[in-house]
């Protein structure tokens, strides 16, 4: 068995590293950190998130805070989404775009206050993103702070996540919190910011705490959730979950060569915003039509499509698989790729080349998986499932 990832710099550890080791997690290098890829098994952890709940350490991710008179103005330059129109208390999924309209990174944007915006960025792009902010802040009256090292982040995801968190929450109500909203309060007695966000396609929360408080919060959540089926879950399950939910992974499905229009993420673009990096390029692309678009597919033959495998259409190789796996909950081999725009729709037959063999596959609507939703009374007679 080969062990990839050489690297001579020592790996960094999150505040929860000891917990993962104590739980018997298999640890792997990821974005310069030693992170848990699995505890009991990717499939078991994945299924737990879909049927009960999973607990993830995502402290390796980056947090950048903008404060000052021009905080919103700078944020509005860097992302195509309107931050000015985002009320305090709300979160938006967006991207840092280049002048050519490609993704520097995909991000979450938190409107903290009138003059305060928090960005959550991918661990793998921390240095690149920090440089990007610093390069563009000239002329803006704003203070930029990289709070990544001072922030631990725990994701609690799954249909039972609300009840698990509710018992530990003070100052906010997980049962009533709406999707893409954040609130400040305490979790297990420790100060926390909690957003109803996640990377799994399930109801869930991302809990920001001080690194010193992370172990206590982690322990309290695990204890509160064990009886309800909560399992610690690693990066392996994180990847299969987000793929079933058709969420892009930077570096795989989106990168500097893909625009939000090509990536089927047009919703992040607020065309009526005056100015943002990449706007001119996107306007041109919208007028001309995108050349290609992200699609999902299911493999019909026997085999699994993976990142990098060639994709054939009408007898020619047209692209490569951007992300692919055997989906643990769906029980099918799924994947994403880019197809020429005029064929980028469900029902198109393609082939995926797996180690020299071309397997039949067919494009399908996204997402592959959508969590079941039903109107039901929850305690205060509110539908907490609003998206």
């Amino acid at each position: 068995m080969n062990h990839p990832e050489g690297g001579s710099a020592p790996l960094r550890k999150t505040a929860l590293h000891g917990r993962h080791v104590a739980l018997g997690a298999r640890m792997v290098p990821f974005a310069g950190f030693e992170m848990p890829v699995q505890y009991t098994g990717v499939i078991e952890e994945h299924r737990a998130v879909r049927t009960a709940a999973g607990l993830f350490d995502v402290s390796h991710m980056g947090e950048f805070r903008l404060r000052g008179p021009d905080a919103v103005r700078l944020a509005d330059l860097l992302v195509p989404t309107s931050v000015a129109a985002l009320p305090p208390g709300r979160v938006a999924y967006s991207g840092l775009l280049t002048e050519a309209g490609g993704f520097v990174d995909d991000v979450l944007v938190y409107r903290i206050g009138d003059r305060e915006v928090l960005f959550v960025v991918n661990a793998a792009n921390l240095d690149k993103d920090r440089e990007w902010f610093l390069e563009h802040r000239a002329g803006f009256d704003v203070e930029f702070t990289d709070e990544s090292d001072e922030t631990a982040l725990i994701a609690l995801q799954g249909p039972r996540s609300r009840e698990i968190l509710a018992g530990l929450a003070e100052g906010f109500d997980p049962l009533a919190q709406k999707y893409y909203r954040w609130a400040a309060g305490r979790v297990a007695g420790r100060p926390a910011m909690v957003s109803r966000t996640g990377y799994t396609g399930e109801i869930g929360f991302e809990i920001f705490v001080a690194p010193g408080d992370a172990p206590a919060v982690w322990d309290a959540l695990l204890a509160a959730g064990r009886g309800l089926g909560l399992l610690p879950a690693g990066l392996g399950a994180r990847d299969t979950l987000r793929l079933e939910a058709a969420m892009p992974l930077y570096g795989n499905d989106i990168d500097e060569t893909t625009t939000p229009l090509e990536a089927d993420l047009e919703f992040i673009v607020h065309w009526d915003k005056d100015r943002f990096l990449g706007k001119e390029a996107l306007v041109v692309q919208r007028q001309r039509g995108v050349p290609r678009k992200r699609v999902g597919f299911e493999v019909r033959g026997r085999g699994i499509a993976r990142h990098g495998y060639p994709v054939w259409l009408d007898g020619k190789q047209v692209s490569r698989v951007t992300s692919g796996t055997m989906a643990p909950f769906l029980g099918r081999a799924i994947g994403m790729t880019y197809l020429p725009a005029d064929r980028a729709e469900p029902g198109v037959e393609i082939e995926v080349e797996v180690r020299g063999r071309r397997l039949p596959a067919v494009t399908v609507p996204l997402p592959f998986y959508r969590r079941p939703r039903k109107k039901k009374a929850v305690r205060r007679n509110q539908d907490g499932g609003g998206a």
Binding site: M1, V37, V42, I43, M326, P328, A333
Partner: protein, 129 residues
């Protein structure tokens, strides 16, 4: 059913068990554990001849593809059909229901050149497992 003490082992963590004039081949418990949840097994076609060390097939876990190598030279005579619908048998029972292929070895002496159970155990220790 192969008993671990009676198998021979390769450095690639395959086991081989002699049954009459055929051998049964699989991967060890260490190998299945390293791979994690196995979701797909592809051991190619029966009837083909391979040399010791040639790729025999692929085992895929959620995250990765691993090659399995022929421990001895010979003809592949059977595949474990159970694994088409239940690849997780390789994780659950790597020496039993999780067997991979049967072969007719070209040269039974090749088996003697492989590690026995004790030598494989020491090999794992030396590798730090």
């Amino acid at each position: 059913m192969p008993r671990q003490e009676e198998c021979r082992y390769t450095k690639e963590h395959e086991w081989v068990f002699r049954e009459g004039d055929e051998v049964v081949v699989g991967i060890t418990d260490f190998a299945q554990s390293e791979l994690g949840d196995i979701v797909y097994v592809d051991m190619g076609e029966t009837g083909r001849r391979v040399n010791a060390g040639d790729p025999l097939g692929d085992i895929e876990s959620v995250k990765a593809v691993a090659q399995v190598y022929a421990p001895v030279s010979g003809e592949v005579t059977a595949m474990n059909e159970l694994l088409a619908d239940a690849p997780e048998k390789v994780n659950q029972d790597p020496f039993g229901e999780g067997w991979l292929v049967r072969m007719r070895p070209a040269d039974p002496a090749e088996l003697d050149a492989l590690m026995d159970h004790e030598a494989y155990r020491r090999f794992l220790e030396e590798e730090g497992h």
